[in-house]
């Protein structure tokens, strides 16, 4: 058997589209009849699905540049001959691509420039299968695909990487659900699951910047970013500052607009660099919150609460009923 190492024989994600449609309808219907935990707000659903469709269209329009670069690097510079028909090559690409995904995802949360391209995926206050399709429109432009180039350079054929990336994306689809509480312990130990990824989508301080996994959760455990879902504290989904409406253009571009606004007011190279590549929420005087400060404040509150139970301050509510 021979496989074209340059052009993938099929697109895993395109093949999975009917599966997406059927399972989203199934999740809604099961939720409707009380057979599964699922909440859908139809305008939120529309925004998620429009982002998915738009991402597909943007990919078709400009995705060719990243693909062409990978093909060029492979043809001219690849170091090893890795046959697409060898089983070990698929095992190797499975682990190496998944680790690459982990670091891509971690960068996408820890540095504002790449967060601007990824934040849209986290902008829904719902967590359901439709949220999974809330995909980026600007990832290609932000250049995150460069992180996969070393694998091409090693010698993994572009078609093989494209197929493995597709498998990873489709794997990550089904974990966007509240319908599955926990899976068997051995599975939760090695694989990314609905429970682990709910933590990733949560805005509770204790859950921020955790569980970047694609398929395997082992990378979070290895690199110190794993946080288990705590039954006592259900995740609140969304971003630290939730979006003010359901406008898809706002979902796709709001953080880029925020960056532009901050850059326009910058007074030094340090500020420009900080606004672009600092953690999301970075500000010259530290007046804005970052994940780090939010977590620190939460820990301080937890510590204070266990030390002494504070008394309620007197408040005078002024209400017009």
């Amino acid at each position: 058997m021979t496989l074209d190492p340059i052009h993938p024989a099929f697109s895993v994600v395109t093949l999975a589209i009917p599966l997406f449609v059927v399972t989203i309808i199934l999740e809604i219907v099961l939720g409707r009849f009380g057979k599964a935990k699922a909440t859908y707000e139809f305008r939120d659903t529309a925004t998620s699905l429009m982002m998915g469709l738009g991402s597909n269209i943007v990919g078709a329009l400009i995705g060719g540049f990243a693909a062409a670069t990978a093909i060029y690097v492979y043809i001219h510079y690849h170091l090893l001959e890795i046959p697409m028909t060898a089983w070990w090559a698929w095992v190797a690409v499975f682990f190496l691509e998944d680790m690459t995904y982990y670091w891509f995802h971690r960068f996408s949360h820890e540095r504002r420039f790449w967060w601007a391209a990824h934040v849209n995926h986290h902008s829904s206050q719902h967590y359901n299968l439709a949220t999974a399709l809330r995909q980026t429109w600007t990832g290609e432009v932000a250049g995150t695909w460069l992180l996969w180039l070393p694998l091409t350079l090693i010698g993994f054929p572009p078609a093989m990487l494209a197929i493995q990336k597709g498998i990873s994306l489709v794997y990550q689809y089904w974990i966007h659900t509240e319908a599955i509480r926990k899976l068997p312990r051995w599975f939760e130990a090695f694989f990314n699951t609905p429970s682990h990824h709910r933590v990733h989508h949560a805005r509770n301080p204790r859950y921020l910047d955790a569980n970047y996994a694609g398929i395997l959760i082992i990378w979070d455990r290895m690199f110190g970013t794993f946080v288990a879902e705590n039954e006592a504290e259900p995740p609140r989904y969304g971003i630290v500052k939730n979006l003010g409406d359901f406008n898809v253009l706002r979902v796709a571009f709001h953080e880029w607009m925020g960056i532009a606004k901050d850059l326009a007011g910058s007074r030094s190279i340090r500020e420009v660099f900080g606004y672009l590549f600092g953690p999301p929420g970075w500000s010259p005087d530290g007046s804005r919150d970052t994940s780090h400060t939010l977590k620190a404040k939460w820990l301080a509150r937890e510590a204070a609460q266990t030390a002494v139970k504070p008394t309620e301050p007197e408040t005078v509510p002024l209400v017009a009923e």
Binding site: T14, I17, V21, I24, I25, I28, V29, G31, R32, A38, T39, Y40, E41, F42, R43, D44, T45, A46, L49, M50, G52, L53, N56, I57, A60, Q125, H126, A130, R236, G238, K241, N242, L243, G244, D245, F246, R250, H254, E255, M257, G258, K261, K297, W298, R301, P313, T315, V316, P317, L318, V319, A320, E321
Partner: protein, 141 residues
Amino acid sequence: MKGVDTVINPLLLQFGGSAVAVALMVGIAAWARISRPVAPLDPTTARTLLAIDYPDLVPDVVWISADTRGAIARAGKDALVLYRLGDSWVTRHMPWDKALKAPIRSGHIRLKLADPSAPMARLAVSGINPWPPEGLKEPQG
């Protein structure tokens, strides 16, 4: 042109099919009515919701909008703004003095939030429930 057609036509078919599927799924989501239940806002609920995003601030005044879909709370020099989006909530803060001076148009206070991710909050106001609340019309010194 035949070569271009063989690429573009399947793509258009895929996008067209996906658009129809999107409309179908959104329709089913609307039919199912499985959004989160949201009770009308009262001062206690508003405080609880604001405490999630502003745990270190304790408002001394809470004003509820006429349609109970929004609130403005005063915490020191800040106005904490809360409003409903679908079955969820959005919060932002702005200077209290600016909130006091926010214009009212077509029965809604228009609060400029100076944030591209939520540029404006529109909260319903009525004669029974005026903004600014009585006794709080003057900016704080």
